[in-house]
Amino acid sequence: MSIIEFKDVSHQDILHHVSGTFREGRITTFVGPSGAGKTTCLKHINGLLSPDTGTILFKGEDIAEMDILELRKKIGMAFQSAPMIQGTVYDNLNLPKAIFDETLDRDRAAELLHHVDLSEALLDHPVKSLSGGERSRVAIARTFVNKPDVLLLDEITASLDYRTVKEIERLIRKLQQSYGVTVIWITHDLDQARRVSDDMWFLKDGELLAYGDASFIDESDDPVVQRFVRGED
C-alpha cells in the first residue's frame, strides 16, 4: 500500500513530471547521479518545498491541503550535515518539543539514545564533543521524538567511516522494523542502496526513470540505468 504518491510533480528546472509511489513500511532509496533532483524531491515530501505543478499525496490526502506544520511532525527528516543547536545532546533531543514550548522527559530522551545504541551518559555532553557517528545517531534519535510515520534521510552517512556506515545501516533497519516507520533514504552509494533497500527510485536530470522493487537496478534493460550501475554516469 502506498503512503506517499507523486503525481506529475515538476519544480523549477529541477524536477520534471515525476510520478511514482512509496510503499508503506518499507525502505526506499533514492539513487541517481549528482544533480538528479534527489534532495529537492525529498524536501517536497515534508513540505520544505512545493511543486510548481502536480500533486503529492500523503495517505491519499493532497499535502497542499494539509496543515503543513502537522504534516512535518508526521514526516521526520535527518539532514546530511546533522545540524545541531548549541548546547547538550539533551537540548538537541528536546528541540522538537521545545519549539512547541514543551519538554521531553529525560527518561524518554535516555530511551531514544538507547534506540540508537548510545549511552544515556551522553545526555549532558555538549554536542560539540560528539564524533561524526554519534552526531548522526543523535540526529536520527531526534527525528523519533515526534513519532513520525515517515523518516526522510538525506545522505546521512556521507562523511562517516565504513564501520560507522554499516552500524547506521543496521540501526535504521532496526528502527524501521521496531517502529514500523516508512524510510525514504537518499544515498550516493549504490552498494549501500543495494544493502538497505526494499524499493528504489532512480532519478536522472530531474526525471524519475524507474522505481519499484530494488532488484530492478541490477535487472533493468534501460541503458541509462545500466550505465549508472557500471559507474559511467
Binding site: 520544505l48 512545493s50 527528516m77 539532514f79 545540524p83
Partner: protein, 255 residues
Amino acid sequence: MSYIELATALVFVVIPLALTLVLRLGLERDIVIATVRSITQLLIIGYILTFVFESDSPIFMLLMILLMIGAATQNIIKKGDGIPGITWMIVLTLVTIETLTMGLMLGLGIIPFEPEKVIPISGMVIGNSMVLSLLFLNKFKDEVERSDDVIELILSLGGTPKVAIDRSLKNAIRTSMIPTVEAQKTMGLVQLPGMMSGLIIGGADPMEAVLYQLLILFLILTTASISATLVGYLAYPRLFNEKMQYIGLTYRKGE
C-alpha cells in the same frame, strides 16, 4: 573659532598626509577627498542650520529631519541587499524611533520645542539608529547564512518560521547592541562623549553639558534596542514564503 584658525588646524591633515606618503600607504587621495568633503558638507550644513534656526519654522525643522532620515536610509539599504522591501522597513524604523523619542522628550517637557534642541538631538537619534541598523543587518545576514541548516531543521520538525529563526534573530539583536551598552559602561572614564565635549568647548556649564549628555545616552540605549528589534522583526518574515518554507536571502542577479 575663525576661518583663519580653521585653516591653521589643517596642520592635522598634513601630518597623516605626510605619513601616508613616507610609508607609501596609498591613502593620500582618500585623505584629501575626506578633508574636502567634510569641510564642504559641514560648512553647508552650518549655513542651513543657521537659516533654519533663524527662521524658527517647524516646516524647515521637519524638512531637516526628513533629509536626515532619507540620507540614513540611503546609507543603510546597501547593507540590506538580499532582504526584499528593506527600504520601507528602514524608513518605518527611523520614523518610528524619531517620532517616539521626540514625542516623549517634547511631551514630557524634557526639551523645549526649539530647532536648536530638536534638530541636533534628532541627528543623534537618527545617526545612532543608522549605525545600529547597519550593525544589525550585517550580523543578521551572517547569522542566517551560517544557520540555514538549523532553520530548515526546525521547520522540518514542524516549527513556525518565527521559532525557526528565533536564535539567529536574537543573536543578531544582542550582538548589535553590545557595543552601545559596553561604550556606556566606560563613558566619562575613557573619553568624554562628543556632545558633552562640544558643549564645554562652546562655553556651556560642565554640569549642564553632563545632563544633556546623559539624556543622549539614555536616548541612544532606546534607539539601539528599538532599531535592531524593529528592523529584525520586520525583516525576518521576508526570508520565508506563505507556505512556511525557507527562501533565505534573495540577491538579485549581478549582486
